[in-house]
Amino acid sequence: MYGIGILKGLGVTLKHFVETYVDDFRWLGKRYYNEEAYAVRQGPKATGIFTVQYPEEKLIIPENFRYLPFILYEEKDDGSIEDRCTSCGICPKICPPQCIWIVRSNDPETGRPIPAPTEFFIDIDICMSCGLCAEYCPFDAIKMDHVFEIASYERMEHHILNKEQLSKPVSYYSSIQPKNFRREEEARVAKEAAKAAKKKEREAKKAAS
């Protein structure tokens, strides 16, 4: 009775200790820096030591991972760029800690608002990485980034990101979240097709009447 519980416990520890070597042996020294081994080592079948050797080897970031937001722009064939954001104001309205500031401006000639933000700020000292802005943007213009290596020595200058710092091309988005991107593109194409069809129908109706 006495001591048996402790011995059992030590047995478990010993098992963990041995498992690492067994696993090392199984991979014949290829346990680290090897994608195949990584998938097993960090999945539900993991045995032995569980460490990711961070700066050299990084955890695979799932698509839905969210860190800080960024805004998207389209690269046109002729080299010009166009913001996806139409400055509709939904994201600054839904942001829970209210850390998005958007300046919308008016066309100097017509006086009507231009559907693009003149300025776009996010205070990353307030942002709670909730992802609501990305979720509710109707134009898929703001998305959550995967970059997390942004430690700095100073915050007063660097921590309010402006439009320039926030903007990234759509191609970047499609590279970090390929599945989400594809799904959204499909939805968009479908929506546009539906719109076009509706328009055509209306025109047809008009023509008929």
């Binding site: 460490t51 942002c127 709670m128 997390f148 942004i150 430690a151 020595y153 100073e154 915050r155």
Partner: protein
Amino acid sequence: MTEGLNNPDIPIPDELAGSIAITTLDKIYNWGRRSSIWPMMFGLACCAIEMIATAASRYDLSRFGMEVMRPSPRQADLMIVSGTVTKKMIPVIVRLYNQMPEPKYVLAMGACASGGGPFKEGYNVVAGVDKFIPVDVYTPGCPPTPQALLHGLITLQKKIDKQSILKVNWYRKEAIPAIPIPILGPDLIDPRDYEKIRNLPPVQEESTAEA
């Protein structure tokens, strides 16, 4: 070997030519310090959980010589401010900071410690620990993932690498003044602000209450 020591591949200005030995010493000195940063075991809020996860086996702080988390400030080199700093807590944090021996570093982990975070507008929240104690590295994120914290720590190591034994202030004769400990009054009182508080224009006080 001596060749390498005496000719560190750093460009040395002429006026410093005599201190080559020091720069080499710096390398060793800094290497020793950066490879054994002992953080203080001190968690504030949600970010502390990620800090513990960083110390656990998946991320394993001991690969950086940082696994020795000391509960006592006297034995710690690094204060990881891991979470929301509240007014009720800040006197304690300043006191802990004062008790840490030099050289000491502060890493603000997460949005809250850096600048108030999502709770910034709250009445009991200090909008950034740097309002009271100097911060060396800021790690944004809410919460910073363990890897982001590790990146912050590596950033801190880089900072340590740049320090020079000649310039650091903890070998100077004069003592480094302690930071006055804030007082909990009708609201948080920073002793450094006495003058400002007394001269607060009453009109403006009124207007902030109304605005």
